[in-house]
């Protein structure tokens, strides 16, 4: 089947010009995954050291290098799948490596727009835009934008949301 290789969002009938995320997003997420795996490795090192003596530390280190390498590879590939597009009437967000998701949020249904930035994100100057509608399950995120781009996106979304208010 041909459709297998093509991500779901590339099958959209009209052409969409996807906006990429900020290039530093990859660095941030890889760093974050390295940190997460490091915590796991430290936790695993304690019983390993008790069990194997000082060799346990080496095992933990080796495991960390392998796992972190794989994780970093996966994360850096995932980052590339993220993208957003602003169309006339709606905002499109795509992401996901294994499970591919394409969210479509009409401007008229936007209830709330959040900007947020975690400590690591702030260090690299990144901001996340979150868009909510009245449906509780639909919380669409656009992570890793330059603060200026994020604020501009927020303002554009807010203006469009006020123009075409559609309600529940």
């Amino acid at each position: 089947m041909n459709a297998r290789a093509v991500p779901v969002w590339d099958l959209w009938p009209d052409g969409i010009s996807w906006q990429p995320m900020s290039p530093t997003l990859r660095t941030v997420w890889v760093l974050r995954s390295l940190l997460n795996v490091l915590i796991l490795a430290v936790i695993a090192a304690v019983p390993l050291t008790i069990w194997l003596g000082w060799d346990g530390l080496l095992w933990a280190l080796g495991g960390y290098v392998v796992l972190a390498g794989l994780r970093a590879l996966a994360v850096s590939r995932t980052v590339r799948t993220w993208g957003y597009a602003e169309r006339d009437q709606d905002l499109l967000v795509r992401h996901g490596l294994l499970t591919r998701r394409l969210s479509i949020v009409p401007y008229g249904r936007i209830q709330l727009i959040d900007l947020s930035a975690g400590p690591v994100e702030r260090m690299f100057g990144l901001t996340t835009v979150q868009v909510r509608t009245a449906a509780l399950g639909s919380n669409t995120e656009v992570p890793g934008l330059d603060p200026l781009v994020a604020a501009a996106l927020r303002d554009r979304l807010a203006v469009r949301a006020a123009e075409v208010r559609e309600g529940l």
């Binding site: 499970t99 394409l102 901001t127 449906a135 529940l168």
Partner: protein, 480 residues
């Protein structure tokens, strides 16, 4: 971050704060606005609210009395409870009440932690009149006021005299500007039994029919449960012998499963009791639903707030051709995880179902020719596959799913909030994808067209968005 985001906004300073805060002053949360009298709740309210605690306490005291053979103890306990409870109720009542002020309803409560809830009546979704059994004994009623929004946005007014509650409901509805809120009908029904008003849409569901329907719905679950538990009991018994110890251990081991089974049975009985004496009428722009055997409730569902209609068909109803109609609104979703929609018809024949459906959403038919997912998706859901499907109808998006209970959910295009296409790893290998159309309200309020062909799925999502915009453009904009 805000410092960097600043220049985009422009350099004008923020507008100055208003000289005085709007509404009641924040440092006196229990004070009603000046010149407006706060209305009290019924004096029996604290007693009724603590009825569970009182029952438990009475049981404990009774047990104590019988074991110690000290009958005076009960008298002391009763006197103490009366004095303490009376004083506590008097104090509690001082701090509770409500005020209708302009287009807002203010509800005050709490003795130690004061609360003051402001309900904007413009956002009113529905006002339900509920009468639990304990309140009916005293001729009291409770008003549940639902506003669209996040979690816990529903407000309760409990308890009020029944006719006062009816009056207040029509008052609230008329302030909210519900077209056809028809205060006259409600006021009329204060004088006589609520049998007055417009004729019911469908002939009332007889208790017999409802009982048969409930039994048929519950039968598969009950049979499966009995079968599973019976086999488990026989197997363990044949291994360990049917001694007392083994049986006790067995019950201990299976306690969670047994509890779950009991709970589902209780829920079935509750559902039956709640749907007894069901009566649905259409009054202007509202669907009025009256139901309940022990706890009665009068629900008002504004038709323009209906986000979707779903038709359920439990597996054993198929031969009888019965279906249940449920109505989704934005308000219902948040109030409880148990009840995720309002029942508009507990059980009905195809004619009755189509009548109710057409009232809930104009020109909605009740029979849909949905299209099945491609054949390669069949192994993923061997039983359900035949009964799964999706359809882009003229005005509604219809999905069908489920085997035990087969459900058609019809979402008018104008009510679709956001659309999502999701493709899992196995779906990708097969060239399939699922389309989710979300409506306002809880997580359950999503119409999912599962396992469509990937090209079709994306086209469907694009089409849904187009039609949603077109449908919403035809409507007058609604803020809530």
């Amino acid at each position: 971050m805000s410092a960097e985001a600043g220049p985009v906004h422009g350099d004008e300073p923020a507008p100055p704060l208003s000289p005085a805060p709007y509404g009641p002053v924040p440092y006196a949360p229990s004070a009603p606005p000046e010149g407006v009298q706060r209305q009290r709740l019924h004096p029996l309210t604290p007693l009724l609210e603590s009825v569970r605690f009182l029952t438990a306490a009475a049981a404990a005291v009774g047990l104590q009395m019988f074991t110690s053979r000290n009958f005076l103890f009960a008298v002391y306990a009763a006197v103490a409870a009366a004095v303490v409870g009376g004083i506590a109720s008097l104090i509690a009542l001082q701090f509770r009440g409500f005020v209708i002020w302009g287009r807002e309803l203010h509800i005050y409560g709490g003795v130690f932690t004061r609360s003051h809830r402001t309900v904007p009546l413009d956002r009113l979704q529905s006002v339900d009149l509920v009468r639990p059994l304990r309140a009916r004994v005293f001729g009291l009623a409770q008003l549940n006021i639902e506003v669209a929004g996040g979690d816990g946005t529903d407000a309760r007014l409990a308890y009020l005299k029944h006719d006062r509650a009816l009056e207040l409901r029509s008052e609230l509805l008329s302030i909210a500007g519900r077209p056809g809120a028809a205060p006259q009908t409600a006021v009329e029904s204060t004088e006589e039994a609520p049998a007055a008003g417009p004729a019911p849409l469908v002939p009332p569901v007889t208790v017999r029919k409802l009982a048969v329907a409930s039994l048929l719905e519950a039968l598969p679950v009950q049979l499966t449960a009995l079968l599973v538990f019976g086999t488990a009991f026989a197997v363990t018994g044949s291994i360990f012998g049917f001694t007392q110890v083994a049986t006790a251990l067995w019950f201990g081991f299976f306690a969670p499963a047994l509890l779950g089974y009991l709970q589902s049975t209780v829920q079935m009985v509750n559902r039956f009791l709640r749907n007894c004496r069901f009566r649905i009428t259409r009054d202007g722009g509202n669907l009025l639903i009256e139901r309940g055997l022990t706890d009665t409730s009068h629900e008002t569902v504004p038709v323009d707030r209906v986000t979707a209609v779903s038709f359920d068909e439990p597996i054993l109803w198929r031969r009888k051709d019965w279906r249940r109609v449920e109505v989704w609104t934005a308000a219902v979703a948040q109030s409880a995880a148990v009840v995720k929609s309002t029942t508009a018809l507990p059980v009905g024949t195809p004619d009755e179902v189509s009548t109710v459906a057409a009232e809930a959403v104009p020109e909605l038919s009740s029979v849909f020719a949905v299209e099945q997912p491609p054949r390669r998706a069949r192994w993923r859901m061997p039983l359900r596959w035949k009964r799964t499907g999706a359809l882009l109808d003229e005005k509604v998006f219809v999905v069908r799913h489920g085997w035990w209970v087969n459900t058609y959910a019809a979402v008018p295009y104008a009510r679709i909030q956001s659309v999502r296409v999701v493709q899992g790893p196995i779906q990708r290998m097969q060239g399939l994808a699922s389309v989710h159309a979300m409506t306002a309200g809880g997580v359950g309020h999503t119409a999912t067209a599962a396992h469509r062909d990937v090209v079709e799925a994306v086209a469907m999502a694009a089409e849904l968005r187009k039609r949603a915009d077109a449908a919403a453009a035809l409507e007058a904009p609604r803020l809530s």
